[in-house]
């Protein structure tokens, strides 16, 4: 199991993302940082104390949305600190720590486009990113509301945003934090705004191997302690409200009610549990 592996080897591999908004990203030169990365750093130092190790070397393994689950499964990555949605399908393969972030899928549009809700998208083109759950969300919404729009897929978020920026798409549907981050870093943040209803709500959590209750407990306990001490709230403010490197732009996304609820009552419920609310 993971705790034993960490103890024996004195090292642990953290899965990180090159570019997942403020949650997990690289500063170049092999340095990774972000809201979830910092939470994980703290969690791992708690784990180190628990195991009685004097030092613990943390290896960063960049992962992509395609390979993160297999990598956790096959043991390459011990703890994934990116921006992975906790859902029921995935829970069959991996397990998640208590929810540390709640993502609300929203719509970003050009400020002068006049679009304010999903209904306005009828006959327009909507961008989203290949390999994300937003594609499914969009598809479900299209079916449910009868709104007919054209989907264009970017190969990554920057690409999708570029579709919006260059006018190839009229809207960009994606996780709110990512949208806020992209807008903040864009050449003219005032040109864009996030509008409309929340299309879906997804708990984002730190991911670990399945069937390793000892490790999960250690991680969960560490996070719960941080929630209690208010440290999580501080980190949230640091990463999502204040200017962050490298561009020193503010994401500026206040904590949502959903996240507040999740922190008030720490749990690892999958996304399906949020739909019903």
């Amino acid at each position: 199991d993971t705790l034993k592996k960490i103890k024996d080897s004195g090292s642990v591999t953290m899965g990180v993302r090159e570019s997942s908004g403020a949650l997990s990203y690289t500063l170049g030169d092999g340095k990774y940082t972000g809201y979830h990365v910092e939470i994980c750093d703290k969690v791992l130092s708690d784990v180190r104390k628990q195991l009685g190790l004097s030092s613990l070397s943390v290896k960063y393994q960049p992962v992509t949305s395609q390979n993160r689950i297999p990598l956790v499964q096959n043991g390459t990555v011990d703890i994934e600190c990116g921006s992975t949605t906790n859902n029921a399908t995935r829970q069959k393969d991996v397990s998640f720590a208590v929810t540390t972030f709640v993502e609300e899928v929203r719509i970003a549009v050009k400020a002068n486009s006049g679009i304010t809700k999903i209904g306005d998208l009828n006959g327009r083109s909507v961008a989203t990113t290949t390999g994300t759950t937003s594609v499914q969300t969009l598809r479900k919404n299209e079916r449910a509301t009868g709104v007919d729009f054209k989907e264009v897929f970017g190969k990554d978020h920057a690409d999708s945003f570029l579709l919006l920026e260059s006018g190839r798409a009229d809207a960009f549907v994606m996780d709110g934090s990512l949208l806020a981050g992209l807008i903040a870093k864009s050449k003219n943040p005032a040109d864009y705004k996030i509008v409309g209803e929340v299309l879906s709500v997804e708990p984002i959590a730190i991911m670990m191997r399945k069937d390793d209750p000892a490790f999960k407990t250690a991680v969960d306990n560490s996070i719960k302690a941080m929630i209690k001490s208010g440290e999580i709230a501080k980190l949230y403010d640091k990463w999502l409200m204040q200017p962050i490197p490298p561009a020193n732009a503010k994401v500026g996304l206040p904590m949502s009610d959903n996240l507040k609820a999740a922190l008030a009552n720490p749990n690892d419920n999958p996304a399906e549990a949020y739909v019903k609310k």
Partner: protein, 247 residues
């Protein structure tokens, strides 16, 4: 973990429920439907791009063998430009940068752009093969054509090209197989082809292994198909009395 779940292809793409007979009906589609349509996109992109590549590549390759320095330069420049930048970057430039400079291109569908982008990229390689093929012919053949009073154009048309064409079939076969594989970059510009399917479907279903197996299998089958067709053509045009290239 190695127990496969092939049922995944029979699932509806919205509800995630297994559908009877695996093909969706009444507007709903299954992953199998989607996979097939993705294959169709892959083949369409690849084949159209191949057409562009063959036409442009042959032209550029021929230019590079002409006696005129100017034409050689044009051919050389084209080849160097398009083969020294990674395909993915070229596609990106076609989609995002070129339209920014030439606004008229903004309304061109991404399918057309990717066909052109992939086609031009491959044309550089084909130009290289065609040039090598023409230059591999004995110089005497060109002299023989001219000595009979044919113009340079006639000599190319009736003597050099028919021979060079046969010489370059094997390398062109590999390029054709490459173009199928390279068509995977089309996902970068929102074409719902196999790679995009693989990335999206494995995200939605978490059955990466099955999805990748199926997609790899289809790529393999497509490349194999192209290979067979090329072999068939090669045998059809084989000249009696020559041993042919496949020795």
């Amino acid at each position: 973990m190695s127990n496969f779940d092939w049922q995944v292809f029979c699932k509806d793409t919205i509800e995630g429920e297994v559908v009877e007979r695996c093909f969706g009906s009444g507007g709903s589609i299954t992953y199998l439907d989607w996979l097939m349509s993705a294959w169709g996109w892959t083949l369409s992109v690849a084949l159209l791009a191949l057409l562009v590549a063959l036409v442009v590549g042959s032209m550029m390759g021929i230019l590079r063998t002409l006696p005129s320095k100017t034409w050689v330069l044009v051919g050389d420049a084209w080849t160097e430009l398009f083969r020294n930048i990674p395909l993915l970057v070229q596609i990106f430039l076609w989609y995002h940068v070129v339209p920014a400079l030439i606004p008229a291109l903004k309304s061109v569908p991404s399918f057309v752009l990717v066909v052109l982008g992939l086609g031009f990229f491959t044309s550089a390689r084909i130009a290289e093969q065609v040039r090598a093929g023409i230059q591999s012919l004995p110089k005497g053949q060109r002299y023989a054509g001219l000595a009979m009073g044919m113009t340079l154009a006639q000599t190319y048309r009736y003597v050099i090209l028919p021979n060079a064409f046969r010489v370059v079939i094997p390398p062109l076969t590999s390029e054709s197989m490459n173009i199928i594989k390279n068509s995977s970059v089309a996902f970068a510009v929102s074409i719902a082809e196999l790679t995009q399917f693989a990335m999206q479907a494995q995200e939605e279903t978490s059955r990466g292994i099955e999805i990748y197996l199926a997609v790899t299998g289809l790529y393999f089958a497509s490349a194999f198909l192209v290979n067979r067709i090329a072999l068939f053509i090669e045998n059809r045009v084989r000249i009696p009395g020559t041993s042919g290239a496949s020795k």
